[in-house]
Amino acid sequence: MRKWKNNARLTLSYTLLLLISVVAIYPALWVVLSSLRPGGSLYSEHFWPRQFTLVHYAELFTSKAYLYGTWYLNTLKIAVVTMILSTILVTLSMYALSRFRFRGRKTALTVMLVLGMFPSFMSLIAIYIILLQLNLLDTHMALILVYSAGAALGGFIVKGFFDTIPRSLDEAARIDGASHLQVFAKIMLPLSKPMLTYVALTSFTGVWGDFIFARLVLRTKENWTVAVGMWDLVNSLQNSNFTMFAAGSVLIAIPITLLFIFLQRFLVQGLTSGASKG
């Protein structure tokens, strides 16, 4: 009786797990298959295409209307620079906030909290006008500047992580004559690899996903990022060109998804260390 019950439980569980797996994978699989299907329409008789073609991928890079290759390189450039800048800014500032007790520290923490509560693009109009006056509209510089400038505000998770590294480590190093920067570079950084990965990855992928701000700033087609381009593609297509959109999506999703899966361990650590500290 007990054994029977156990088997029933396991069967039910496996069925559920399989079902959820199908739901989790299906959209991704559908896009990949669509990108390999001949023709351009969204509608197709069969889930599994009768023949496969790579023509849509080629089209992405040869099309005159969609400068996908240029967009891709643009995004890559912006994402890499933003990732480097914001990782440096976030870790340095959160190191200071976590390790030192100085006047204004509580204020700084409170300001970070309060600013995080404003809807992010409440500042949209103002930033637009500032960029207009700095003559930075329609440049990638503007995007990098704004993404990195706000980076420190999202640093609570990083601070929480630094808080958990025992302070005795850096005190010992200080006694041995290391400067603060040396302590940071030689002790804190090696210990915070999971956190650095988390910050770098989230700021990197953030750029690929942001289209609100990119759409506001980037005016000419040659300067667009993939996010703006894909958004435009979806909005202008009416059941045509869907396969091309699918191909573009696959090319964006593959590297980022792979990064996520490979760095999963770090991500989980990053998420949960933020969790226990709130």
Partner: protein, 437 residues
């Protein structure tokens, strides 16, 4: 003897850096002076205009003036630029005042050293002293400047807009001027029938959405995590990796893909329903079904995150609790209710509340999926699935109702702030962060 410090402070008050020079800190003094001179040259001619602009918001509009035979356009005052320019100048003054206060304090410290017959620091020593004792300030200076000019100032600017009448069609510069109107925008939002109807409707849906979106993803995550962690389930790592996929795919892509999946005419979901002999559903075009769709899609995106979180917490529950429960003869359900659930709730409460606050501002899911549509005839510029935040976006970018948009933004801020403050009050980690060491 307090001579040196008094003289140094007085000199530094008169001219920034003079006190340092009096203390024979030449390089430092010259640097301070250069900052003041540069600041003065930039700000002095602009300060009056900045204050005038902020107070009046401009006095003349642009107009055509006859010069000989051709009409020429004479530029008027642009109220919005005036506000922003004024703010930038005020912020610069603020930064320079900070340097000024620092300069006086520094002169006092060095003067004190001299009074005590100790040598003052050389420039090199000052540098080393600063990087040792003021290290955190150095680390924070650059990010703080970035935040000041690209976050705080824009927010102050936008908050100010809520108290003006900057909106289409009557008050858009440069053709027209903008004026301060006090709390009128807020009053309109609550009292004027057309606005208040939209505002209340959108607000209620925003709250329903935030509750449902948070609860479904949270409990969905718990269920999936428990399912994987059950005794006897094999390939745990494989399941976990599969379920993490929706989280790994960039949101922008997965949402745009979903939009096509749920397409009422050509989308595969309706196609499959057709195979079962069922009629297709208006997933994105019917007010009710559009709401169902956004919640469902949000589950697909959000459950993996909760799952990852809760899997981490499940492993941290002490085994002996369960063993003790086994000895007492507790059933699986009882163990879940008395041990697992309280443990999960306790450690994820702060995140749960922050997720709720985050969902109030969940722009992407709504905007990319339905764009806030289907449109509602009796709403002002909003649709059935519009949240406050997407409504704000539409008000700003599509309809130029900047003052209403800013007011809505302030209201969103207030709602989120209440939850966040309550959260931090009750979570001990903020207060007792030093206890972890």
């Amino acid at each position: 003897m307090k001579q040196h410090r008094t003289i140094a402070v007085l000199l530094s008050i008169v001219l920034q850096g003079l006190g340092q020079i009096y203390n024979r800190q030449w390089l430092k003094g010259i640097l301070f002076m250069m900052i003041e001179v540069a600041g003065f040259i930039y700000i002095a001619p602009r300060l009056g205009g900045a204050i005038w602009g902020l107070v009046t918001l401009g006095e003349k509009t642009q107009k055509f003036v006859k010069v000989g035979k051709v009409a020429q356009m004479v530029k008027g005052d642009h109220s919005i630029f005036l506000i922003l320019d004024g703010l930038i100048i005020l912020f610069l003054v603020f930064v320079l005042l900070g340097v000024y206060v620092w300069n006086i304090g520094d002169a006092y410290q060095s003067g004190k050293l001299r009074d005590e017959k100790k040598p003052v620091r050389t420039f090199r020593q000052s540098y080393e002293h600063a990087t040792t004792f003021y290290f955190p300030y150095f680390m924070l200076a650059l990010p703080a400047l970035g935040v000041l000019f690209f976050t705080i100032m824009p927010i102050v600017f936008t908050v100010m807009l809520a108290f003006t009448n900057y909106s289409a069609p009557d008050h858009i510069p440069p053709a027209k001027l903008v004026d301060w109107v006090g709390f009128k925008t807020f009053a309109d939002l609550v009292k004027m029938k057309s606005w208040s109807h939209t505002f209340v409707g959108v607000l209620i849906w925003t709250i329903i959405w935030a509750v449902l979106a948070t609860v479904t993803t949270y409990f969905g995550g718990i269920l999936v995590a428990l399912l994987i962690e059950q005794k006897g389930i094999r390939f745990k790592k494989l399941w976990r990796t599969i379920f993490i996929i929706p989280y790994a795919i960039p949101q922008l892509i997965s949402l745009l893909v979903m939009k096509n999946l749920f397409n009422g005419q050509f989308g595969p979901i309706n196609q499959y329903l057709g195979y079962f002999g069922l009629g297709g559903l208006p997933w994105l075009t019917d007010p009710f079904w559009a709401k169902v769709t956004v919640i469902t899609v949000n589950m697909w995106i959000g459950i993996p995150v909760s799952m990852v979180l809760i899997l981490g917490i499940l492993t941290s529950i002490p085994r002996d609790l369960y063993e003790a429960a086994d000895v007492d003869g507790a059933s699986t359900l009882q163990k879940f209710r008395i041990i697992t659930m309280p443990f999960i709730l306790f450690s994820t409460m702060p995140i749960l509340i922050m997720q709720f606050a985050g969902n109030i501002n969940n722009f992407n899911v709504i905007f990319l999926l339905t764009g806030g549509n289907p449109a509602k005839g009796d709403y002002q510029f909003a649709g059935a699935t519009d949240l406050l935040i997407t409504w704000l976006y539409k008000l700003t970018l599509d309809n130029n109702k900047y003052n209403v948009a800013s007011a809505v933004g302030i209201i969103i801020f207030l709602i989120v702030a209440i939850f966040s403050i309550w959260n931090f009050r009750r979570s001990k980690s903020f207060k007792e962060e030093d206890m972890i060491q």
